[in-house]
């Protein structure tokens, strides 16, 4: 997944309402009005959140004119999950290198100390 794509996904996820909507959709497809139930929000406000999620590839909308059920698209979230794993590994490796470098620095210092 490109970092642009990933940034869009993270931006979409960086909102508690949208995460709650995704959690609801993990239990099954739902209509806009069903998704709006737990929130004190207008339908247009919920629709706006759904548009953000749709653009980020996190959900898809059915084409049935009246109902237009929302469905979770798991690919984008899988991408986030993979990225988090890569990011953790990057930092573990970064700390590995730092550990070795600090040992080298201190070994040099000791050598220099003996020469004085």
């Amino acid at each position: 997944m490109s970092t642009d794509r990933l940034s869009a996904t993270f931006a979409a996820l960086a909102d508690p309402t949208r995460r709650a909507i995704l959690a609801q959709l993990a239990l099954g497809d739902a209509s806009v009005s069903k998704l709006a139930e737990p929130f004190e929000m207008s339908l247009p406000a919920i629709s706006k959140h759904l548009k953000v999620l749709e653009r980020a590839g996190l959900i898809t909308r059915g084409r049935e004119a009246q109902w237009r059920p929302c469905r979770l698209d798991t690919k984008a979230l899988q991408g986030v999950d993979d990225w988090l794993e890569d990011y953790r590994r990057l930092w573990e490796e970064r700390f590995d290198r730092l550990e070795i470098y600090l040992q080298e620095l201190q070994a040099e210092d000791r050598k220099r100390g003996r020469k004085k």
Partner: protein
């Protein structure tokens, strides 16, 4: 996300390894990458601009903005700019804990974005402790949610 390590080095030295560009290039990586720093302004609002030279010959422009510097205990920063190896939306806090000759180094990447956290403060008048709790919760939510969703595709 939290990554932590106890390093066998005094805190002053670990701090120096983080805050002197001539040291940073030795370990920032990733593997096979070298780093050239063109600006390094270590203060709140200051900018660290650097290029990561990839093993394939490609250069990656990076720009980090420091949000908070508490010498020699804590560095808070976030990435900005488009051509990043590490995408935006995370605020990273690095803490240096003195263990008497050793140092515990901890990196915390907070999700959701700083902007979202600021909005929480504004909208709900939440205090910093509350915001941190919310951020931790959000951090915790992201992964189990992704895992449960992955299972749903099977």
């Amino acid at each position: 996300m939290v990554v932590t390590r106890v390093l066998v080095a005094p805190r002053e030295l670990v701090w120096a390894a983080w805050t002197d560009p001539k040291h940073i290039t030795h370990w920032w990586g990733p593997v096979g990458f070298s780093t050239t720093t063109s600006a390094y302004d270590l203060r709140a609002g200051g900018i660290w601009r650097f290029v990561m030279h990839g093993p394939d010959g490609r250069d990656y422009q990076n720009r980090i903005t420091f949000d908070e510097i508490v010498r020699p205990e804590r560095i808070v920063y976030h990435h900005d700019g488009a051509d990043d190896v590490e995408p935006v939306q995370f605020r990273t806090t690095v803490t240096f804990e003195d263990l008497g000759g050793k140092t515990r180094l901890t990196m915390r990447a907070l999700f959701p974005s700083a902007a979202a956290r600021d909005r929480v403060i504004k909208v709900y008048g939440a205090d910093e402790g509350m915001v941190q709790t919310l951020s931790r919760l959000a951090d915790y939510l992201a992964e189990p949610l992704a895992t449960s969703l992955a299972q749903r595709t099977d």
